[in-house]
């Protein structure tokens, strides 16, 4: 098991956002975490990356307990989160955004290699590297956010709603890229409201409802589960 979440409880003030969830991600997998708005998906990612602290439970990454590791140190362990709403640095150029992604990278050669890799995956960023991030469209910002995350050379990527606010064609493109990144050896934990898309590329999936995991299994099983069809796939 690469990433293991055990009995995780998180509170936002008085709100019990996560009520003891358990799940895991294996090496090389794409795991989808689907659920409605407010189910606790983003909370889960932010707790893994250390932006939030759980009141109970453990996060283990490659055998190491990273439950209370602060966000700025989680990157160095090899996990990086692409936050919901991209959160690119609007007043920094594309290049500066990418350099921020590689903030912990001290090896210049590795930086160049990662940069080339990122430019191969996202050729458009190379053409526009001196442009300010804030001038980009939503789809381009999503690509920049993913590229920025890849600059830290992660072994696991936490993607929070990459499809949000994008046209179907762009969503299609983004998900193809996610698959490519996965094929390069990066494990992926994908949080999505767009269950159909998420399940189409995931190996396994968990369904999160009001802070609890109610269903889990292979992506195919979850995709054909009547409850999921009813609740998330606009089923009949």
């Amino acid at each position: 098991m690469m990433l293991e979440i055990k009995n995780l409880h998180v509170y936002y003030g008085a709100i019990h956002a996560l009520k003891g969830i358990n799940f895991h991600v294996d090496e090389g997998e794409i795991v989808a975490l689907i659920g409605a708005n407010g189910a606790g998906k983003s909370t889960t990612l932010s707790t893994i990356s250390g932006l939030l602290q759980p009141s109970q439970g453990n996060v283990t990454f490659r055998g190491e307990d990273i439950t209370i590791t602060p966000a700025e140190q989680t990157v160095q362990k090899g996990i990086v989160q692409v936050p919901e709403g991209r959160k690119i640095f609007a007043t920094l150029t594309v290049m500066e955004n990418l350099e921020m992604g590689a903030y912990t990278q001290r090896n210049k050669k590795q930086f160049q290699k990662d940069l080339e890799n990122v430019f191969t995956i996202f050729p458009r960023l190379k053409e526009r590297q001196n442009q300010l991030g804030g001038t980009f469209s939503g789809g381009e910002q999503q690509m920049l956010a993913m590229a920025r995350a890849l600059m830290s050379h992660p072994s696991m990527l936490l993607l929070d709603e990459p499809s949000m606010g994008l046209s179907p064609i762009l969503v299609e493109q983004i998900f193809e890229i996610v698959q490519d990144i996965n094929k390069q050896g990066t494990s992926i934990l994908l949080v999505e409201q767009n269950a159909q898309m998420a399940l189409s590329i995931a190996d396994r999936a968990y369904v999160l409802e009001t802070g609890e995991i109610n269903l889990q299994g292979s992506a195919q099983e979850v995709l054909h589960n009547p409850m999921v069809i009813e609740a998330y796939l606009g089923g009949h």
Binding site: F89, A90, L92, T104
Partner: protein
């Protein structure tokens, strides 16, 4: 060495220099035109007659011969304001919080520098020393002030602001005002315990008080010397070096990118591996060192300091930061220069233009009128951006 030179981004060194020259010339020119127009208007009025009778010059001549001096003085104080304003603006950029204790950091810097020089004088190291050594001692005093003021600013953040990070915005603001009073009284206490007096005077040494005279102009019965004091040159040069250094740090280094990233989005910056608390401490350190250095420069220029010395320069630098667009470094530079110029112009000409009814002591009206006008009509300042580029 050659490789090191190649990594220097020359553009980021030249750009702020060009900006400073542009802002200085620009504000100088605009204000000059205004006073010359006013002088032409007032020439035939009572104000013109009054001056003609008293000083035997027309108001236009009076305005013109004083002009170069006023511009130079305005620049000197303008650069001091700019250096202080950067402290406000940097902290605001990162925390969206006005550090009202910054004026006292400035005052502490002034006291550290002046006490250091007084100490040197008591050991008879200055003034009996070579010119070269005088400059070295002055630099040492500035560095000592930067060191103490920088550490103090970091400690203030650590003790009085960081525990309040999650609180409503008014809470750290009140804490800052408290720190401000605390530091004022701390200076007072320490000074009265150790020296028995509140105000200290910077020892005179080196050639700082000398005046370089370019030319002399006959003005009615008397002559006016056109010149600049050596210490004014020192203030301008030192402030320019600091401002260029800061601009380089923020715009062309990795740590500067991290500062800008934290200013924009703290939690995303931490996801990139940036230690946000360290960056915040760093901005207080930078703001504090600039403020401390500005304190010594201020003391050098105006010679006398007291525990409340930070109050007015602090408020004016804050005005300068707001005028330029708070959070914007170039704006703080512009605001400082414009405000310094405006104030000096007002101080120099108000008396002549109003027949002595409103003298130089009313010059502060201009600074604070600007604060009010900017807040009403252009709250984001001259150079503040309306960035709302979030998807």
């Amino acid at each position: 060495m050659k490789r090191f030179l190649e990594t220097i981004n020359v553009r980021e060194l030249l750009q702020p220099l060009a900006q400073m020259i542009l802002f200085s010339l620009g504000s100088g020119a605009v204000l000059s035109v205004i006073v010359i127009l006013l002088a032409l208007l007032l020439d035939q009025t009572a104000a013109g007659q009054f001056l003609l009778e008293r000083n035997k010059v027309t108001i236009l001549t009076y305005t013109l011969v004083n002009l170069p001096q006023v511009v130079l003085d305005g620049l000197t104080i303008g650069f001091v304001y700019a250096a202080i304003a950067l402290g406000y603006t940097m902290v605001y950029g990162v925390l969206e919080f006005i550090n009202f204790a910054h004026s006292e950091i400035f005052a502490v810097g002034a006291f550290v520098g002046v006490e250091f020089l007084i100490l040197l004088k008591s050991f008879e190291i200055i003034p009996a020393t070579s010119l070269f050594m005088s400059y070295l001692w002055l630099i040492a005093a500035i560095l000592a002030a930067m060191f103490v003021a920088g550490l103090l600013a970091v400690s203030v953040e650590r003790i009085a602001y960081r525990p309040l990070r999650g609180a409503p915005r008014l809470v750290p603001l009140i804490s800052a005002i408290g720190v401000s009073f605390f530091l004022q009284d701390a200076i007072r206490l320490i000074e009265s315990l150790t020296t028995g007096q509140f105000h200290r005077i910077i020892p005179s040494f080196g050639n700082f008080d000398e005046r370089l005279v370019f030319s002399k102009i006959a003005l009615g019965a008397s002559t006016i010397e056109l010149g600049i004091q050596v210490k004014s040159i020192i203030v301008i040069v030192a402030a320019m070096l600091m401002l260029i250094g800061l601009n380089y740090l923020v715009n062309a280094t990795k740590v500067g990118r991290a500062i800008r990233a934290v200013a924009q989005d703290r939690s995303t910056a931490s996801l990139m591996g940036i230690d946000v608390n360290r960056i915040i401490s760093l901005t207080f350190l930078i703001g504090g060192t600039l403020g401390g250095a500005a304190g010594v420069l201020y003391a050098l220029k105006f010679t006398r300091i007291d525990p409340f010395v930070g109050f007015f320069p602090g408020l004016k630098a804050f005005t300068a930061a707001v005028l330029g667009g708070i959070g914007n470094l170039t704006g703080a530079l512009l605001g400082g220069i414009v405000l310094g110029m405006l104030e000096t112009f007002a101080g120099a000409y108000m008396s002549a233009f109003t027949m002595g009814a409103a003298g130089a002591e009313y010059k502060d009206i201009f600074a604070f009128s600007i604060l009010i006008l900017v807040l009403i009509f252009r709250p984001h300042g001259l150079m503040g951006e309306n960035v709302t580029q979030k998807a």
